[in-house]
Amino acid sequence: MRNMKFRSLILYFVIFAFFAGLGYYIFEFTRESRDWAFSPVNRHLSNGSLSGGKIFDTNGEILAQTVSGKRVYHENEDIRKAVLHTVGDGSTLISTSVQSRYNAGLFGYNFVTGFGAPDYFSSNQDITLTLDSKICASVSKKFGDKKGTALAYNYKTGEVICMVSLPTYDVNNRPDFSKDTDGKYDGVYLNRALSAAYTPGSVFKIFTAMAGIENLSDAETRKYECEKVKIIDGEKVTCMQNHGKLDLKTALSKSCDIAFCDIAIELGKEKMTRALEKFGFNSSQYFEGIELTKSVYDVNLASKADLGWSGIGQYTDTLNPMHMLKIMGTLANEGNLVEPFVVKSFSVSGAKENQKLTKTSEKSVISKITAGKMKEMMRFTMKNQYNDSLFGGIPMCAKTGTAEVGEDKLPHGWMVGFSYDEKFPIAFVVVVENGDFGIKSAGPIAGAMVKEMHGIFAKSK
């Protein structure tokens, strides 16, 4: 019998295996239970047995609320579709949405009681957004069946007034994405404003121009020579037109490729990279704590011609729309960035007082002189190249871009800019995927968006 004492120790292998497994499971549970609980497969979220806080837009429109145990979204389908990526669909699939990020507050979830705490204890929070849902809806509709994103914010206060991402869908009538074979819903859960980076095309010339101004003493005064085609080390760089001799201001307004190609080559890889990294390329940028898809400028392996192409927003350059919006806001605000945000306030359901989220802190990103010069150059571009009628006569500073993305596809169309008059402090970014020329595709959307915002702005004054 005595040796049974030793032999039965083998049981401890099984017992230790259990404790090791249990320990690891508890570790995983504490780390990931929130993600598990808010997974889209959770019927507690979709069957509406949970109460949830309300989500308002800036005008008090209720974008999402819980009515008799069911999560209900805005009654207008266009608004539901337009704010989907900001509000969310009740799951964590759209991870950047407010309902995913603040789900614990909205649904009274916590680690100890799960979703089980009786209503008495649960303190569902209401959230007010800075968005104007009506503007979002009309902007979103303007995209038709194109993909892309449109952003606009007040560069003095930081409030994001419009943020839409396409493709979108109606939360009340979710399509079966698994049957989507023609790519109509590719990346539907992404908020493209935050989680995408596109080839920038000519809007990148803003950065090249700033790099030139800050690094070359005669960047603005010298004459650039455009003969439509330029051969660099045997490789061709072509411009849209034969522009002849032109200065920087004209080169930007006419979007002359050769001029900016020359600046990039003259600055060289190192100076270009250093300048672009100063503007936020190749590093993490954030929006309300959400890490944006990085904007990339990488010319390590570029040939001389490639370097030229990189100066005009082709080669391997990519640009994140929200990042670009911040740059626009910075240029408009004399080189000082007011961080954009979309959550205006939290409040406990029923309680009156609002907890104002303090935001408006400015930080100097670009020198005041460079910003001022860019503002004038972009104003010049707007006035002489595009015509102010696009924005109904509102004086704006802007630049379009047409980014080549492949032989058989239409280019991405960009339009970025901001108001000239600081009394109407608006900056915007519009990207239309495969939309053709920037002025043709993104232009009308930007125009309508700015005009609508101006109308509301004028009324409120």
Binding site: M1, R2, N3, M4, K5, F6, R7, S8, L9, I10, L11, Y12, V14, I15, A17, F18, F19, G21, L22, Y24, Y25, E28, F29, E32, S33, R34, W36, A37, S39, P40, V41, N42, R43, H44, N47, N110, F111, V112, T113, G114, F115, G116, A117, P118, D119, Y120
Partner: protein
């Protein structure tokens, strides 16, 4: 008013884990307290040297080998010479194939011979006289039975705690849907009546004082029944019937294995019965969820492999005499191979794994040979590699492992639901019957751990698991005190089997191991599984020295 009521109802969620901890504490406290310091039962006096050899165990090996309980180092003595053991009738000696034999009062013994106080046994020239333990001027073990210990809890007290827990959880499930439903209360009432009946019968009929094992098993299977009330009252009723049958089978087995030597004689019949069950299963088996491990009898589906588990433990265990006389495990290895082969053919890989691990436990408990364990594992690894080489598609059944969130609507369906709803329940749970996991296929059986976490809370879910593990720790500690090596081996292997099955189940559904579809002991929906786990508890009960002390 409504708020007050929902608060009251929710307070049950707070009380239940607290009660569960209390029940676990009281049961195991009493169990471990029952393991008093060991005192000698009798003494063997060496006539030549005057050495008094205290006899601590019910079964003692005598021989030259240093692993023997009584080591007599003389060249004339065989390595394993004899076994000296105690039965209801007194003390016995049995020659285990020694070279020179054993003499009792000068006469060579043929088979097992009874020894009285004062008798002299001669083992290879060493004369040993059987004396009472009091020659050591120590109290003998039996006389301590009267000692009262303030730290232990009576069987009735434990059952009162279990009753309170079951009443509270039944209340929770009755109001689960918002309105009062009387059916769970009726069911739970029947369950409580039966539990108390069992208590009265064992206490006054069988004159047994120890009730901890029953209390633990009733607590656990009670959670299973109440949990089912929130899903389907008919399933809950079936489960209750199975629980009753399980308890009856438990009592029958406890009585049946009272005499370890009788068990040894029963073995060929049990082996035949087990193999016949497997053969019937292979021929008439129905395929359910990818494995053909069900047979239909009169409208009820039965899982024969669950009962073979009990037979497997029964056949693996042996008295010390059995171990010393049959050194090789050939017959048991053949039987195990037959079982595992049959399970593989049925496609029930989870149960095959459980059998394999239990086989290793049994083989090591019997032989003590690490070489055997290593060889077995190596052989099994080769075998599995061989099978996978020819049938690689078996692996696709486990391809979701650690990738469940990439396949939430097909191969990762069950695991993702378990995780999401476990997290929804938090530590305290939503309330019995208020969960969503119950709508998922196989939730009350294979995925029941997820249901426990969602509806009863993660704390309670973990306590359930810990109670099964504590049982394993307890039997390991109680081990050598039992009345025969038969009980030591069978209880350790039964507890090991349950613990391993629990590992396969819990970590399978939470995606830490591949999902194999085995049940969680006691709690899972499944009549065969519940009856068989109660039968396994009988081995643990039998290993408790107190079980057969009266009546």
């Amino acid at each position: 008013m409504k708020t007050m009521f929902s608060l009251l109802l929710y307070s049950i969620q707070l009380i239940l884990p607290f009660m569960a901890i209390l029940i676990a504490y009281c049961c195991f406290r009493t169990l471990f307290k029952s393991l008093k310091p060991m005192r000698p039962l009798v003494v063997l006096l060496n006539r030549a040297t005057g050495e008094k050899i205290p006899i601590m165990y019910w079964e003692n090996s005598i021989g030259r080998d240093r692993h023997c309980d009584i080591v007599l180092n003389m060249p004339s003595i065989s390595r394993d010479h004899a076994v000296f053991y105690r039965r209801k009738g007194g003390w016995f000696i049995s020659d285990t194939n020694s070279k020179v034999g054993v003499l009792l009062n000068g006469k060579k013994i043929e088979s097992d011979e009874k020894i009285f106080i004062g008798d002299v046994i001669n083992i290879g020239g060493v004369a040993l006289e059987l004396c009472r333990a009091d020659v050591l001027s120590l109290k003998n073990r039996e006389s301590e039975d009267a000692d009262f210990d303030y730290d232990t809890y009576s069987g009735g007290g434990l059952l009162v705690l279990v009753t309170i827990f079951q009443v509270l959880s039944t209340l929770s499930v009755c109001f689960g849907s918002g309105k009062f439903d009387y059916k769970p209360a009726v069911l739970s009432g029947i369950m409580l009546l039966f539990e108390w009946l069992v208590f009265v019968v064992t206490k006054f009929g069988f004159k047994r004082d120890n009730f901890e094992i029953e209390a633990i098993a009733m607590f656990l299977s009670g959670i299973g029944v109440v949990n089912l009330c929130g899903v389907d009252i008919n399933d809950a009723f079936t489960q209750l019937i199975a629980m009753a049958l399980g308890i009856i089978l438990f009592e029958i087995i406890v009585l049946l294995i009272k005499h370890a030597d009788f068990c040894m004689k029963l073995r060929p019949y049990v082996a035949f019965f087990a193999l016949a069950l497997l053969a019937v299963n292979l021929v008439f088996g129905k395929v359910k969820n990818g494995s053909q491990n069900w047979i239909m009898i009169g409208g009820y589906s039965i899982q024969p492999s669950e009962f073979v588990k009990v037979a497997f433990i029964f056949l693996g265990a042996s008295t010390l005499k059995g171990i010393q006389t049959t050194k090789n495990l050939t017959w048991f290895i053949l039987f195990s191979a037959a079982c595992m082969g049959a399970l593989f053919l049925m496609g029930d890989f989870g149960t095959a794994c459980i059998f394999f691990v239990t086989f290793i436990l049994i083989a090591f408990m019997r032989s003590g040979s690490i070489r055997t364990v290593v060889l077995t594992c190596a052989t099994a690894a080769l075998g599995v590699a061989f099978i996978l080489n020819f049938k690689p598609y078996i692996m696709t059944r486990f391809s979701a492992w650690r990738h469940v969130w990439e396949h939430p609507n097909d191969i990762g369906y069950q695991q993702t639901r378990v995780l999401t709803y476990s997290a929804s329940g938090g530590l305290l749970g939503l309330g019995v019957g208020k969960g969503c996991l119950k709508y998922v296929f196989a939730a009350p059986s294979d995925l029941v751990f997820g249901m426990l976490c969602e509806e009863w809370g993660m704390i309670l879910g973990i306590i359930v698991l810990l109670m099964i593990v504590l049982l394993a720790i307890y039997v390991r500690h109680a081990g050598v005190r039992s009345r025969s090596a038969f009980y030591t081996i069978s209880s350790c292997c039964a507890a090991g089997m349950m613990t391993f099955q629990m590992i396969m189940n819990v970590f399978g559904v939470t995606d830490m191991l591949p999902l194999t579809g085995v049940t969680l002991p006691f709690v899972s929906l499944g009549g065969s599984s519940l009856v068989s786990v109660w039968a396994l508890m009988a081995f643990i009960k039998a290993s408790d020295e107190r079980t057969y002390s009266r009546g």
